[in-house]
């Protein structure tokens, strides 16, 4: 049911962890809903230089989180704002339809982290 890429990112998630000196933090979801994630970013010259995540959720939620950190690292924040649910799902060679909406919080959390960064910058 899951693609090999999903299983790979679930088994060996990239960029797991907290970041004590994050420039922006984005949270999306809630344990009541079954999936929740937190994204920490470091930004330098509008580029995401480091990124970490923590996720509570099913295998695909974890894989999406891992993928979003991999994709976003090195992007400018403007580019990163254009990352979508669909592009993440595509990067993972697809998600089962019932997972497409509920476990696919990566883009939202990333965008929230960027907004948080911008807020903090006063932009």
């Amino acid at each position: 049911m899951y693609s090999e890429k999903v299983m790979d990112h679930f088994t060996n998630p990239r960029n797991v962890g907290v970041m004590d000196d994050a420039d922006g933090i984005g949270e999306e979801g809630n344990p009541v809903c079954g999936d929740a994630m937190k994204i920490f970013i470091k930004v330098k010259d509008d580029v995401i230089t480091d990124i970490k995540f923590q996720t509570f959720g099913c295998a695909s939620a974890i894989a999406v989180s891992s993928m979003v950190t991999e994709v976003a690292k090195g992007m400018t924040i403007d580019e990163a704002m254009k990352v979508t649910k669909q592009s993440l799902a595509d990067a993972l060679d697809g998600l089962p339809p019932q997972k497409m909406h509920c476990s696919n919080l990566g883009a939202d959390a990333l965008h929230k982290a960027i907004k948080d960064y911008r807020n903090k910058q006063g932009k």
């Binding site: 998630p13 809630n30 344990p31 009541v32 079954g34 509570f56 099913c58 295998a59």
Partner: protein, 398 residues
């Protein structure tokens, strides 16, 4: 990699002798039991022999067994069949909140057809209180249906006691025995039931074979109308190989049941005691009144599907939430009914073992389970105090 099957509540492998018994009916003995010549007669005899063996397993008479194709079918048949048969007597039905979806959704269908349904709560162990059943009875009550054992939390209900109450009030009593029959001794006489659902795949019989026990003299309206198969109560060309398999599986189970229970109970106990040593792991269901091969938990801070996927990667196959509908629901109504908060209910995991489970398997489990929990907790944003994060609104529709 070794594969350790710990999801016997979902389905069991076929016993090799069961397959052997079925094969002739998948090959040369292909007749339709309704046919009057040799092939039909052989098929008819095989079906009736299987009926007798199936009846024996639950201490019923052969003519009280109606073969169906699934537990869900038997449950729908029992609820709607009794409701439609007795609607002139009354239109009130009592079920519990921890029934399988095939009962709950049949009850909801009947509500749309003008029936009233009481959904009885359970205590924190998942038990229905027989006194509460008694109190729920009205002059209009025609049927009580209470699950015998829960596939999700393992709790075994006081069916005999509830049956006595139903009998005193002359109300039809059905129990869903899918998770119990084949796993514990079940005797419809001492349980005081009028109807009971059970399936072959719970005791090493085939998929597509199930039954509804209907006590002699009980009026029931068919769910599937048609020809005169099953005494006119369930139409459709009989699935002879599956029925033969169910009979054989019942025969073997009757003989082996105690041995199986003696084998799996200590292994199950080891699962439970080792898991409960871990931090923030909670047993769900009753500690003693539970199915012998059944161990179910909620694990804090992590989610059930991720847990079972990671266990599967290590070679341990388990379930989360309702065993037969892992994909159906994010949070299980059964866990909510026993007072588990929603965020915690997400971390449900069920291990159900069987006659093939070995001490070696359990040893491997005891190494693996803690490691899986630790790994997922490393990834999780939550820890102590997370209950404060609970939020009743979900932005994303589940």
């Amino acid at each position: 990699m070794k594969k350790i099957y710990m999801d016997h509540m979902a389905v069991n492998p076929l016993h090799p002798e069961v397959l052997d018994a079925m094969l002739p009916y998948l090959k040369e003995n292909y007749g339709n039991p309704m046919s009057l010549y040799e092939y039909g007669i052989k098929a008819r005899e095989a079906v009736e022999n299987a009926r007798a063996l199936t009846a024996d397993l639950i201490n019923a008479q052969a003519k009280e067994i109606i073969f169906t194709a699934s537990g869900a079918e038997s449950n729908n048949f029992a609820l709607k069949g009794i409701a439609f048969a007795l609607q002139n007597k009354g239109k009130h039905i009592i079920v519990s909140k921890v029934e399988h979806h095939s009962i709950l959704n049949s009850a909801r269908f009947l509500e749309k057809q003008g029936f009233a349904v009481t959904y009885l709560p359970v205590d924190n162990d998942g038990l229905v209180n027989p006194e509460a059943v008694k109190k729920a009875i009205t002059d209009e009550t025609i049927l009580i249906s209470i699950i015998h054992a829960s596939p999700e939390i393992g709790t075994i209900q006081p069916i005999a006691e509830i049956g006595r109450i139903a009998k005193e009030h002359k109300i039809m009593f059905h129990t869903d025995g899918v998770a119990s029959v084949g796993n514990i001794p079940v005797d419809v006489q001492s349980l005081n039931v009028d109807l009971m659902t059970f399936t072959a795949h719970q005791f090493y019989g085939p998929k597509g074979a199930a039954a509804l026990y209907v006590k002699q003299g009980t009026r029931i309206v068919p769910l599937i109308y048609g020809g005169i198969q099953e005494g006119g109560r369930r139409a459709g060309t009989e699935n002879v190989p599956a029925i033969v398999g169910m009979g054989k599986a019942a025969e073997i189970t009757r003989k082996d049941l105690q041995k199986r229970i003696d084998h799996i109970t200590p292994l199950r106990d080891e699962i439970i005691s080792s898991a409960l040593k871990l931090d923030k792991v909670i047993l769900t269901g009753h500690a003693e009144k539970r199915l012998p091969g059944h161990a179910s938990f909620v694990v804090e801070y992590i989610e059930g599907e991720a847990m079972l996927m990671m266990l599967a990667i290590k070679g341990i196959f388990s379930a989360s939430g309702s065993a037969c509908s892992s994909k159906a629901l994010k949070s299980s109504p059964v866990l909510i009914s026993i007072g588990i908060p929603v965020h915690l209910a997400q971390g449900s995991v069920v291990f159900s073992i069987g006659e093939g489970t070995t001490q070696e398997d359990i040893n491997f489990f005891k190494e693996t389970f803690p490691a899986v929990i630790s790994r997922l907790r490393e990834i999780s944003p939550y820890s102590e105090g997370w209950e404060n994060t609970e939020d009743s609104t979900c932005t994303v529709k589940k």
